[in-house]
Symmetry: C3
Amino acid sequence: MSAAAASPGGRMRSWMAEAYPICRSITGDGVRRTLDMIEAALPSGVSMTRTGVPSGTQVFDWTIGDEWNVRAAWVDGPDGRRVVELADHTLHLVSYSAPVRTRLPLEELRPHLHSMPDRPDWIPYRTSYYHRNWGFCLPHRQLESLEPGVYEVLVDSTLEPGELVYGEVVLPGAGAGEVLVSSHVCHPSLVNDNLTGLAVATELIRHLAGLEDRELTYRFLFAPGTIGSLAWLSRSAHVIPQIRHGVVLTGLGGGGPLVYKQTRRGDAYVDRAAEHVVGRRGGEVRGYSPYGYDERQFNAVGFDLPVGRLTRTPHGEYPEYHTSADDLAFVADDELEESLTALVEIVEVLEGDRVLTNLSPYGEPQLGKRGLYPTMGGKSASDVVMAMLWTLAYTDGKASLLEIADRADLPFAAIRAAADDLLDAGLLG
Amino acid sequence: MSAAAASPGGRMRSWMAEAYPICRSITGDGVRRTLDMIEAALPSGVSMTRTGVPSGTQVFDWTIGDEWNVRAAWVDGPDGRRVVELADHTLHLVSYSAPVRTRLPLEELRPHLHSMPDRPDWIPYRTSYYHRNWGFCLPHRQLESLEPGVYEVLVDSTLEPGELVYGEVVLPGAGAGEVLVSSHVCHPSLVNDNLTGLAVATELIRHLAGLEDRELTYRFLFAPGTIGSLAWLSRSAHVIPQIRHGVVLTGLGGGGPLVYKQTRRGDAYVDRAAEHVVGRRGGEVRGYSPYGYDERQFNAVGFDLPVGRLTRTPHGEYPEYHTSADDLAFVADDELEESLTALVEIVEVLEGDRVLTNLSPYGEPQLGKRGLYPTMGGKSASDVVMAMLWTLAYTDGKASLLEIADRADLPFAAIRAAADDLLDAGLLG
Amino acid sequence: MSAAAASPGGRMRSWMAEAYPICRSITGDGVRRTLDMIEAALPSGVSMTRTGVPSGTQVFDWTIGDEWNVRAAWVDGPDGRRVVELADHTLHLVSYSAPVRTRLPLEELRPHLHSMPDRPDWIPYRTSYYHRNWGFCLPHRQLESLEPGVYEVLVDSTLEPGELVYGEVVLPGAGAGEVLVSSHVCHPSLVNDNLTGLAVATELIRHLAGLEDRELTYRFLFAPGTIGSLAWLSRSAHVIPQIRHGVVLTGLGGGGPLVYKQTRRGDAYVDRAAEHVVGRRGGEVRGYSPYGYDERQFNAVGFDLPVGRLTRTPHGEYPEYHTSADDLAFVADDELEESLTALVEIVEVLEGDRVLTNLSPYGEPQLGKRGLYPTMGGKSASDVVMAMLWTLAYTDGKASLLEIADRADLPFAAIRAAADDLLDAGLLG
C-alpha cells in the first residue's frame, strides 16, 4: 500500500479513481460492480447485505422498472469516423437509452443529441428513466462541428425484467436506536455527485468499526436515488421505527464550505448536532427544501424520519454539477477529509451527549484543591477551566452537554472532556 | 365611459376628482354627499345601509356632538379684498369652526390664522371638534404679507343638534365569519388621506361582488374617524362576535412601499395573510401602535378585534400629510392599483387557505406518470414542480397552505394552484 | 463640605480617594478598615451588620483559610537601595504572600517577581490565596534594569487563624421580597475594580434610604470575592428564599457603555428591568458566562438566585484591568453618576411596575374632555399623550407597565407617569 493510500484522503481517492469509469444507473450491473467495490473496501469483520427487488414490484406510488444494461453505444459520422463512443465516457449515453441500431440524417439525429452551449467543452448528464427514449450527450463544440449527412447509431442496451439492487452495512450498537447513513449509487462518471458520498461513507464505516463502544447502531444504505431508497423503505418496516437520526451523504468535495440541510421538521436532534459541528467549522446550515436527494423520501410525511443531509456546495450551485467537469480533479483530498471529520464529530455528539448533574451545586466548587485550576490568580481562565466552569454552571439535570457547548460557544469535545474530568473528580454524576 | 375610466385606476381617479371639493367633517352634509357618491359607484345588486346617530347620544366614553354645516366662510382685508375664501379650498376653514361675523384688527385675527412656516405655499389642515373655536388656514407666504388694519371675518356655519351618519355595505358569504373593511369619510380636500381609502374600498367591493363563491361575509364601513367607528361599534353588538379579520384602509397612494400595520396582538390570522402579501411585494410590516386611524378603536382592549391597517407611507411620515399638497397630483393610478391588488391577494388568502392532507405520503409520489413532471431528468425543477413538491412535503394535516407558501418562499397563489393540481390528481385530500 | 463633595460624583470620588491606599485582601484588617469607611458614609439611621467567619470553617466546597495581614514588605538591591516597597503601592506585593526574610541572588529572586512586558510602566495585580507562596509585582521597565547580585527580601506578614469578615446593610421594605446588591471588598489599590462598586453601592443606599415608600427590602452585601459570598450564602439560609432580584456591582467607571450581564437563566425579572434601563441608555446586554464576579456563586445551580451584574466595560476587556493603571484618574465622576442613575432607574422599575386594567376599554376614552389631550387636532400627538395611549392600549389585566414601556419603546418612567395620570382620571384600576 502506498503512503497516500494509507491516509483517509489517499484511500478515498484511490477508491474513486477505480469506481469512476463504471457505467452506473438506477439498475444494472454498474450498481452491482459498485457495491462489490464498496464491499471490498470494508474493514474485516464488516459485511454488506444486498437486496434485489424484482422489476414490476410496486413500491408505494412507484414501480420498479426493467433492468437496464448496456454493452456498447456509439455514433458514426457520414465519413465513417466514430463521433461519440460510450467507452470514452459514460456520460455520452443518455442513461436508460433504449436499444437502437439505425442510420439517419443529421437533422433526424439532432433531437437525440444533448450539449451545453454555455459550456462548450463539457458533456452534460442526462437520464430518461421513465420515458422510453434514446440519446447521446457530447460537448457543444463537437456538436456544432457535425457535418450534414447520414449517421449510424448503435445503442446495444437491454431493458428487461431484472431487479433493483441495494446494499446495507450494519454496525450494531450496545443500545437501542439506529443512525441511517444513506448515499446514492446510481450516478455514472460523476465524482462529486456521488463517488465522494460513497467514499466518505466507506471511510466512516472504517472509523465506526474501530470504536470500542458504540451505543447506537449505524445502518449504511447504498441504493439508487429515489426509487432505490423507496424500495428500501418498502422493505424496512421493522427498521424504520428504530431510526433516531439520519444523514444523506453526497457532494462532499468540490470546494465551498460544508453545508448541512436540516430535516423537514428542522428541530430534530441530528439538526442540533450537525449545526453545532458544521457551524463551528464555518459551514452553512440551510432549511429543508423538498428538492434534492433521498432526504426527500426519508422525510416524506408518511415516514417523517429525522434525516438531514451533508454536502459541500449543494447540487445545482456549481457549474460542474451534472457534467463531465465533475471529475477526479474537481475534488481535493482535504475537502473529503474535512467532510469525514465533520461526520466523525457529529457521531461523537450522537454517542457522547448526555444530561449530567452537578454534585457540588452550592457555589462554584474549589477547582484548585483538585488540581483543576491555575494556582496564581489574577489572569484570565484558560479554555480548559472555562469549559469546566460552563459545565458546572449548567449541569442542572436538564441541559445536555451539547446544549451547554452551544451556550458556551465551545466545541462539544471541549465540554465533553471537561465533563469527563469533573466526573473523575466526583463533581458530576 | 372613457378608456381611462374602464380601468380600476381610471375609475378611482375619476371618483376622487369628483369627491375632492366636498367639505367633509365628522358630521354634516359633506359626509352625506360622500356616501351618496360611494353608493353611486357600487355595482348593481349591492347597496349601502346608512345609520344616523343623533347628537347627544352617548357612545361609550364619548358623546355625539352637534352637527356642523357651513354655507360660507371668508376673510376680507382692510382694503376690502378677499384674503381667504372657503370656496377656494376646504382646508381654508378650521373644521368645526363656530359661526362668527366680526371686524377685528390683524393682531386680534392673528391667533385664528394657521400656516406652515416651513412649507410657505401649503395650506395646513386643522380641526377643533371638541373645543368651540373658529379659525382659518392659509399659506404662510400669504399670512406674512397681510397688512395691518381691520379685517372682516365671516363663518356662516351651524352647530346644531343633528346626527352623525355612517354607511355600511355588506357582501354576504356562504359560511360563518365576517371581514371588516373600514375607511374614514371625515377628511375634506385631502386625497391620500382619505379619498384613496374610499376609492380603493369601493373598487374592492366591485371585485368581491364579482366573485362566484365567497365563503366569508365582507362588511365595509364608511364612517367618520374615531367618533364614527365608536358609534358603529356601539350599534353593532350583534356583528362584533362574527368578525374574524379586518383591515383599515387609508393613504393607499402617494409613493413609498405598501405598509401593513399589525393588529394589537400581532399574531392574528390577518397579520399572517397581509404579511405574506405585503412582504412579497417589497412592502413593510410594522407592529401595532396606539396612534393612527380607526384600528385604535377596533383593537381597544374591550373589543380586541383583529383589525390591521393597510397604507403606503403612513400618516405623518410624508411632508404633504394633512396639507393642501395632499392633492390629486400626489397619488398615481398605479399606486392605487397595487394597493387594490394587494387587498385582492389578501382576500385570496382569507378565502383560499386551508389545511390539506397528502394522500400519497410514503415518499414522493411519481409526478411523471401523472404528467406533472418533465420527462428528461438531470435539470432543475421548474417553479410549478417546486410548488407541488413543497405542498406534498408539508401537507401533513396540520400546516395550512399559507404556512407552506411562507416556508417555501413562494406566492400563496402558486401553492394554491399546486394544491389544486394535486387535488385533481387525487394526491391531496 | 466642599461643593464637589455635595454632589454624588464628588462624594464618591472623595470616598474612593480615601479608600485607595488600603491594602485589602480576602481577609485581614484591610477589609475591616474598608467596612469602617463604608459605615461612616451611611446616612443616619442606617447601620451595617458585620459577620466574622472563623478560619477553618467549611463553607460548601471551600474552607475559610488563615487570616492574612502584612505590616511591611520590600526588596533591597545589591547596593542596598530599596527596589520595591509595599508602602508605595499595595499592588507591589502578591496578595497572601507568606512571611519571608532572606537574601538571595537575582536568579533565585526572579521567579518571585511579576511584571507586564507589554505594559512596561504598570504594576500587575497578582494573588496566591490557595497556594502558599510569596512574590512582588513591579513595572517591567524596573525589573529589566535590576543588576545581578544578592537581594534582600522582607515580607513581614502573618497567616494565622482569624476570620473572614463581611458587612451587610439592610433597608427594610413594606412588603415581602428582597433585592440583593453585592459588591466585593477584597481588591487593594484598584479603583474601577472595585472601589467604584463600593462607592456606587453606598450612594445607592443613600438614595434608597431617602425614599418614602419602599415595597422591597434592599440587602447590600460587602464581602470578599468568591469565598466571602460563599460564606454569606452559608450563613443566610433564612434570607435566600426571600431574594427576588439581585445585582452585582463592580467596574462602574472607566469609560465604555453600561454593560448588564444577565442572570444564568436569562429570563429573570431583573433581566427585563435592567435590559430596559441599560438598553435605553445605549448600553449593552450580555448573556451569562460562568466567569466573572460573585454572580457565579449566587447563580450556581444549587442557589439559582436571579442576580445579574452591572458594570461598564467588563473585567479583562480594558488594558488597565488588574494593574496599577486602574487608578483614580481612570474613572470619571459622570461615569459613576450614570451608573448610579441606571441603578436608581432599575429600582424604579422594581418598585413601580404593576399590572393595571383599563376601566374604559371600549374604544379610546376621550382624553380631551379630561384635559389630557391637545384641543386643536391635526398635528402629531405629544410624547405624553402617546404614553397614555400606549398604556390604555395594553392595560388588559395581563401586561405590566414594564412590558408596555418595552413595547412602546418609551422609558418606564414615562409609562409610569402616564399610568398615574390615568389612575387619577379614573381610567385605570
